[in-house]
């Protein structure tokens, strides 16, 4: 990132030639379409630099020519839309097949947020790395669990970290978890329809200092005279568009009231539970490169997620204590790695509290498997002895 900026890599015309997938088809086809596509490519990039939908976020990327994106987006239901699109070149072939296999999970409980993931990085049948790190800390109170394409996740996690740090330097306070999720979601939106595949959960804790600055649902203030915080994003279009937490408020107000009623409607919930959607406290967001952004209390992502959900859905409660929560997360990852071929090796566990995150040692699940086998054998022996008696 820094090296790119320092060397001015984006702005050289050579860099345009290198990274376009269209250049792969150059030797195969005739040259005239290449020239046309080159014009459109340069136009496309120019447009993407400050595309109509990203509100002027200053990201410069090598984006594949827009022509290839439309066929990927439109599935069978929307064939009518694809006929309306002006470009009609065949979709670019990927140089290698992308495959994503992982198990990551995160949940909120009274003691904070637990995030757990396996450590196998697979590449269609090959274990590319048995000790990858899928949970990446962004700052002391925010973790990102990554799933999808490894390269994309690594890049976007670094971009997110950079933008959050820039926000902190510019505004003097740390961006809230809600704001961070919105930032990531808005940054990924221009790439919707391309092959970017990022499915991340942001786990964090909003600390007290953020609360002081926020508008606690005072919509009259914001719509009326407007304090500085609400006007500044409009004055500086170069910055991220929806970063101020006041924006997060208006949607959260509606979800707040909706969620209060959920708690009353469901009868088997623990009554000692405090509302998770307070301004400060543990937060969990799922952000996906197709544009989804969901706030929740339990998420599992990846090919092993159905198995993890099976373990977690029955057991996760607000009132868990720390050891129970940690062992539950370990068990869920273990079960998922047991059945899913693309998850395995070790388990990483992080626990976030108001003081920040703390990381447990990485545990090899092979040992867990052997321990369980011994337990099963022992149980079998005991039962057969009882039968004999």
């Amino acid at each position: 990132m820094a090296l790119q900026d320092v060397s001015g890599f984006q702005d050289t015309p050579m860099s345009h030639m290198w990274n376009s997938p269209a250049s792969l088809s150059g030797p195969m086809g005739d040259t005239t379409p290449l020239l046309d596509m080159a014009d459109e490519r340069i136009l496309g990039w120019g447009r993407f630099k400050s595309s109509e939908r990203d509100g002027g976020v200053p990201l410069r990327f090598f984006i594949p020519p827009p022509q290839s994106s439309v066929p990927f987006r439109c599935d069978n239901r929307h064939t009518s839309l694809s006929s309306l699109s002006t470009s009609s070149s065949p979709p670019t072939r990927r140089p290698f097949p992308l495959s994503h296999g992982t198990t990551t999970l995160a949940f909120v409980f009274q003691g904070g947020v637990i995030a757990a993931a396996d450590t196998r990085a697979s590449c269609s049948g090959l274990v590319a790395c048995p000790s990858a790190q899928k949970i990446l800390p962004i700052h002391s109170h925010l973790l990102v669990t990554t799933s999808g394409s490894g390269a994309d996740c690594m890049l976007w996690e670094r971009i997110l970290a950079r933008e959050i740090r820039l926000y902190q330097l510019r505004h003097g306070r740390r961006l809230s978890i809600t704001g961070s999720a919105k930032l990531l979601s808005h940054m990924l939106h221009p790439f919707k329809g391309t092959d970017v595949c990022v499915a991340a959960t942001l786990c964090g804790w909003d600390v007290e200092e953020v609360r002081v600055e926020e508008f606690k649902g005072k919509r009259v203030d914001r719509m009326g005279s407007g304090r500085d915080d609400s006007i500044s994003p409009a004055k500086r279009p170069v910055e991220e568009t929806v970063m101020s937490t006041s924006d997060a408020c208006s949607q959260d107000d509606l979800t707040d009231s909706a969620c209060e009623r959920t708690r009353h409607a469901v009868t088997d919930v623990d009554l000692t539970r405090s509302p998770v959607r307070d301004r400060c406290g543990p937060k969990l967001f799922y952000v996906c490169s197709d544009g989804t952004r969901l706030q929740g209390e339990l998420f599992s992502v990846g090919s092993g997620s159905p198995y993890a959900y099976g373990v977690l859905d029955g057991e996760v409660r607000w009132s868990l204590n720390e050891e129970e929560a940690i062992s539950l997360a370990r068990e869920a990852v273990y079960r998922a790695t047991h059945r899913d071929a693309y998850s395995g090796n070790c388990v990483d566990l992080f626990h976030i509290t108001a003081q920040g995150y703390c990381r447990r040692d990485r545990e090899d699940l092979r040992e867990e498997y052997h321990r369980e086998r011994e337990r099963v054998l022992k149980r079998g022996k005991e039962e057969s002895e009882e039968d004999k008696k």
């Binding site: 009518s80 839309l81 309306l84 919707k192 409009a234 959920t262 197709d290 929740g296």
Partner: protein
């Protein structure tokens, strides 16, 4: 599998939306709110492709708020509906169309209650009742776990009790 429904009455509009946020076969969230408050008496209900719904709805929501900030008065439901339709139509013929189906419900001082149906091809129709969902034209699919219900009348927007089918959790 998402469902929106709206009914316009004499002096109110009643709207309901389901609460599931699904990702292919996994129900990631069961208490998702699909209604966006454009102003005190206007609600936008939005379903469709995963990221497009929230992006488009929030874009419209912020622009409506901006209008009020700039001009000092709010857009009427008719104006808001037409503004939304225009935006949807503009994006439709761009490289990045939004695939969303919308219902806009509002109460105007002079015109009374109004319910507007809009689909992903930016067709706009004012209707006394409308719905969006799978099997809309063939079957009435209601096997969704819960619905949020809201009522708009001259006093503003009111949240009603969530609908949970009997026997289901």
């Amino acid at each position: 599998m998402e469902y929106l429904i709206g009914i316009q009455g004499q002096d109110f509009v009643l709207v309901a939306a389901d609460n599931v946020a699904a990702h292919s076969i996994v129900k990631m969230k069961q208490d998702q709110d699909k209604m966006f408050k454009l102003s005190d008496k206007i609600l936008l209900l939005c379903v469709g492709e995963a990221g497009d719904t929230v992006q488009f709805a929030e874009y419209i929501q912020k622009n409506i708020q901006l209008y009020k900030m700039r001009n000092g008065y709010e857009l009427s439901p008719t104006a808001a509906a037409n503004f939304t339709r225009k935006n949807l139509a503009d994006y439709l013929r761009s490289r990045t169309p939004y695939h969303v189906n919308l219902l806009l419900a509002g109460f105007d001082e002079t015109d009374g209650p109004g319910l507007y149906y809009m689909d992903h091809l930016s067709a706009l129709a004012k209707a006394p009742f409308a719905a969006h969902g799978h099997g809309l034209n063939h079957r009435f699919i209601l096997n969704l776990p819960s619905f949020s219900v809201r009522l708009i009348d001259k006093d503003g927007t009111h949240d009603l009790e969530k609908l949970i089918p009997v026997g289901a959790k």
